[in-house]
Symmetry: C2
Subunit: 374 residues, 2 copies
Amino acid sequence: MGSVFRFELQAVCPETGARAGLLHTPHGVIETPVFMPVGTQAAIKGVLQRDLISDLDAKIILANTYHLFLRPGPEVVRALGGLHGFMNWPRAVLTDSGGFQVFSLDTLRKVTEEGVLFRSHLNGDQHMFTPESTIDVQRALGSDIMMVLDECLAYPASHEAARASTDRTVRWARAAYTHYRQHADGTQNCFPIVQGSMFPDLRRQCAEQLLELDADGYAIGGLSVGEPRALSLEMTEVVAPLLPPGRPRYVMGVGMPDELPEYVARGIDMMDCVLPSRNARNGYFFTLTGRVVIKQSQYKDDAAPIDSNCSCYTCRNFSRAYLRHLFLAGEMTFSTLATLHNLRRYLDIMREIRESILDGKFPAYLRERRKVSE
Amino acid sequence: MGSVFRFELQAVCPETGARAGLLHTPHGVIETPVFMPVGTQAAIKGVLQRDLISDLDAKIILANTYHLFLRPGPEVVRALGGLHGFMNWPRAVLTDSGGFQVFSLDTLRKVTEEGVLFRSHLNGDQHMFTPESTIDVQRALGSDIMMVLDECLAYPASHEAARASTDRTVRWARAAYTHYRQHADGTQNCFPIVQGSMFPDLRRQCAEQLLELDADGYAIGGLSVGEPRALSLEMTEVVAPLLPPGRPRYVMGVGMPDELPEYVARGIDMMDCVLPSRNARNGYFFTLTGRVVIKQSQYKDDAAPIDSNCSCYTCRNFSRAYLRHLFLAGEMTFSTLATLHNLRRYLDIMREIRESILDGKFPAYLRERRKVSE
């Protein structure tokens, strides 16, 4: 069976290697570089599906295999038509493998060669994720892009522990990929994840071994786990040049607004992060010129919008004074309005970056952004 | 200065006395009978202003004087252009007087002839509401319709206590109305509130005394305070016929979906209630054929919408299975989707009622609804 999946490279910045492309999926074409809003439980917190389209024009969102495996369960989602039917979301979806949650939610029971035994954070029930089973769960979820199960090491880790873990991640990726290929019908893609903690040699070795899979795309995982930012960027610099130019590259779980162009400058095409939405709910707005902490009393009767350069619904319609009131009053619509703004900011940044790459002006854009964020 | 306020009676049901009309305000024409969504803190919980217009076509909403007096304070709202500017809400707003909250939030300190001394439920600060001061607060809020300060008695009350309280409510209404008239510039209307607990003689006497004010409209308060429903309707039956036919009549704080036509059948034009939105957040959906309790396991993989007769965004796009998942997962968008549906149901009911009155078919409509709710 044929597949519509195709990654089309449109422009590469000769100075930095930043890329602009088109990722064709069965649920639409994704302009890269792209930021993917996070919809952990098959919902973007505070933002309706129609607003993801009309306000944000998000072309792809992320959902979480661990959470959806536990609730409502993959068979419920499958019966309702996969995530696209269940959520009534016509565009692309990427699901992570659940590995990150199993390792980070303190539900870890035991890692074996076979997989990872864990307890549900909801009710303590014991479950097992194997490389094959997480692919099967994601096949039920029907995501456009599936991720292989990987082991996520805490930071810092010893070289020895990191080597053992990275080797296991590679073996799991091979098992997952074999299983994926056996069932592939062209409707879903699958990306392995480069691990290796903060050790360049392990990162390099992991990438090289995963290249043998000739995968649909590649992710870089295990970043944003508490390490200094310079180190995350360094690991990306080590790995990205090893990855095949014709396949999309996804750095998982990054980052702050000023980091987005930095990852793109290192050849990254896809990113996701809970920061814009989580910060929104906590009253932090990202703007072109910095952060607005809305609870501050200086905004008490400030009639200006959060960011006069922004054309999101929130900035077009509401004052800082009103938003501050909603935040202090604990009104739900605050979270919605703030999330609409922050996600719009992230998606606008990615659109600006993409434009600048296509126009051959990315190095100037990058210099400008670095100046602002100093 | 002239005023655009005008209540235009379009049709009266000869059998029941149910009325259809148009209430002209500086912020639009309100088709009556009307249900007013409650936006206590200058926000409808979970629903954005644009959705109130595009999804619900709400012509008037309610905001709360007590809450807005405490936070953000009337002067902040005034500085931002009153509630219309502050909320960026172009349509009509009604503010209650704050009396109900002072008496119901257990913040009551002391009632004197002058007014009521109370403590803020937010920080314990002591404040005084007088008939004049609550008008001044509402003048700062800039609502289209203001309510006079009234004393809200708990149910049940003795005839003696009710008489003393009702007499005070009348004296307060006179003081408020004198103050209102002194400052009236045609941009705001003001309604006194008929009290009298569950005593027909006190209700009648209160209504007759308030008629002397020749007020812009009249409210019936002190219902839905724990009394049997038959009693609330009985009190309405006592009061409504005494009120001037050419002025709008507002029953405060009602009701369940099957009660809406009952109040209209007793000559009521305006209603408000937190029930549709509060029930929504708690997972209860109102439908044409009854209530859907979404947490029930029967909906686990139910692909049907909440109400196939409903054309709200929620019913047009999402299954019971997805909504149940969002509810159990504690996702904010559940509250938004459920509130959009329940408010739409209420506003649709009022539109059906209005249509049936205009078409001379209200008695048949009422019989039909009574049959369903039996």
